[in-house]
Amino acid sequence: MNDFVLQTVTQILMPFIQVYGIFVVLNGHLSPGGGFAGGTILGASIILYALTVDVKAAEGIYPDERAEMVESASVLVFVLLGLISLMMGRNFLTNIGIFPSPETGTLLTGGFIMPVTLAIGAKVASTVITLFTHLFEEKKS
């Protein structure tokens, strides 16, 4: 799409969208939102760029190989966090008593909930982008 206004506005908006996405992911355990919602917002920023500016360039920002790695790694992070409590002799995915949880309302509260939300955010963001690029390629061919 070759529209100057659209492209400029998109490029100005992109960092704000992404910062908002990261905010929603990080505050998943404190405020409405979470890994899924924030990840979708992050993914949507790249999709917006692809739609308005250039698909090839968007793929350059977030290549397929990196998406593969991020998707696998984020699931592994989730499972391994669960296994940490198993190694401490407690049930799988036990949070209380294993992971430190400072006072309620701060960012690091909730033990492993924030790392898990981060992993979910990364997974969802890269899945949304991969789905888009694959559907787009299909349309092309």
Binding site: S72, L76, V79, G82, L86, N91, L93, T94
Partner: protein
């Protein structure tokens, strides 16, 4: 010790998601990883079985949260039996895949193949252990999507079409299941199977409509996924077009895990009380009889060997439902033991068919005449599988049929013995000509042999499965003891 069920599920999951990362540029590595993880987990399950024998059945609470807050895993004999079956059969299929996969899936797709395979194993194991409705729903979805992708991975036109058909029908089934869970949650307020079972009598009294609709939706939903007779239309395409190792796991295990979940839900959650208010068991009996006869008749009409085996699966799923819905101890045992026996036989037959296709490129049964002279081992074990399917004494298929027939007597419904006998006859009609033609027929001049012999990694699983069919036919004692405990658990409630 108590953590073993979750360890088994998690190692498969870790293997599944490590495969695409480790397999990048090293396409041989994910296969080795899978062939280490699954047999190791089978050993762990053996240890867990011994442990349960010492301390009795128990529940495992994920995250340390007891129900109604947390998710519970139910470690009883039924779940252990299914998990063992899944891991033992998967191990054999994985060994076979080492030799066979190369000519069915492109090399850069191998790491995804093992990802999907391990994901499917993890999801099925979780389904076997799960004691939570929503957990069951989630892992049903995981297993369905992994199974669809395992069919489509060949990227041929007919595979994608079959996979798409499976995906659409399965998704409709999932929708039904979700709706049923919502209805149950409305009237019982719980997702945990044991707690729902506790509320069931009161809920059935106050809201009989909700309970009945939920029961029917669950039967239809899981019925689609486990290819219960009139809902089986996706199965022949899906199971015949997939790569042979995928066909084996789909036909041998995947359809049955849904049947087991449905059986567990019907018998332990709804229970005899609800079943007695409507002729559910009678309907299941009629449907499974139709499956047994209909599936066999359809199989008779097939010329493609993998389609024939796929239709035979439709009939064999009928046996499992028949045994369970007789609601007698021997019948339940027959249905449950047939899950493992059929998994052995059908895996054997699909892998043998895969070996034949691998060597000759032929799928048409009329062209396989005289093939036993070129592939004596493959055709020999194929004959064991075929005889087992027919139910000749001395093979494991006979044990299941004997228990099913005894169960029909116990339940006071001897008419179903005729169904079992008739279907044995039909099985003989479509399996034995293949065997006879292969051994006695003259080799066709126009044969196309693209490879001279199959690799050892394909022969060993075939021989192992053939020996297992005979072993469990001659010495079924330990297996039957495990199944008896699983059946007792279902029947008592």
């Amino acid at each position: 010790m108590n953590h073993l069920p979750i360890v088994v599920i998690c190692t498969s999951l870790i293997g599944a998601f490590a495969s695409p990362v480790l397999g990048k540029g090293r396409p041989w590595l994910p296969g080795i990883l899978a062939r280490i993880i699954v047999p190791a987990n089978a050993v762990l399950l053996g240890i867990l079985l011994a442990h349960v024998g010492d301390v009795g059945v128990f529940h495992y609470f994920v995250g340390g949260w007891a129900p109604p807050w947390g998710i519970a895993l139910n470690v009883d004999y039924l779940s252990l039996y299914m998990a063992m079956a899944i891991h033992v059969i998967s191990t054999i299929i994985l060994v076979f895949a080492r030799g066979d996969l190369g000519h069915e899936v492109r090399l850069d797709g191998h790491r995804w193949y093992y990802t999907l395979f391990l994901l499917l194993v993890a999801a099925m194991t979780a389904l076997a252990f799960s004691n939570d409705f929503f957990n069951i729903f989630v892992f049903t979805e995981v297993a369905t999507i992994a199974a669809c992708a395992l069919i489509a991975i060949k990227a041929y036109r007919e595979c994608v079409e079959a996979s798409f058909k499976y995906l659409i029908l399965s998704t409709v089934g999932s929708g039904f299941i979700l709706l049923a869970l919502a209805l149950l949650y409305m009237v019982t307020g719980h997702f945990n199977l044991s707690l729902v079972a506790g509320e069931m009598a009161a809920a059935a009294e106050a809201y009989p409509m909700n309970i009945m609709v939920a029961l029917v939706l669950l039967i239809v939903g899981f019925g689609v996924k486990s290819a219960m007779f009139p809902l089986h239309v996706w199965l022949p395409d899906a199971h015949s077009s997939a790569p042979s190792p995928s066909s084996a796991i789909l036909s041998g295990l995947v359809v049955k895990i849904y049947a087991v979940v449905l059986i567990r839900v019907i018998l332990t959650v709804f229970g005899r009380g609800v079943l007695s208010t409507a002729p559910i068991a009678e309907m299941l009996l009629l449907l499974s009889s139709a499956a047994i006869i209909g599936g066999s008749l359809f199989a008779l009409a097939q010329r493609d060997i993998k389609r024939l085996l796929a239709y035979s699966t439709v009939a064999q799923i009928g046996y499992i439902y028949l045994g369970i819905s007789l609601l007698s101890e021997s019948g339940t045992m027959g249905g449950l033991v047939h899950i493992f026996n059929h998994a052995l036989m059908k895996t054997l037959l699909f892998l043998a068919a895969g070996a034949m296709i691998h060597q000759t490129g032929l799928r048409d049964i009329t062209k396989l005449s005289g093939i036993a002279k070129k592939m004596p081992i493959t055709m020999g074990v194929f004959s064991i599988g075929a005889l087992s399917m027919v139910g000749i004494p001395g093979f494991n298929g006979f044990i299941s049929k004997m228990y099913l027939a005894t169960g029909a007597f116990e339940a006071g419904k001897p008419a179903f013995i005729i169904v079992i006998l008739l279907s044995s006859l039909l099985n003989g009609l479509y399996y034995l000509p293949i065997v006879v033609r292969a051994f006695l027929g003259a080799p066709d001049e126009g044969e196309v042999f693209t490879r001279d012999r199959i690799p050892l990694s394909m022969t060993i699983p075939l021989v192992a499965l053939g020996l297992a069919c005979i072993y469990f036919g001659l010495i079924p004692g330990p297996l039957l003891e495990l199944v008896r405990r699983a059946a007792e658990h279902l029947i008592l409630l």
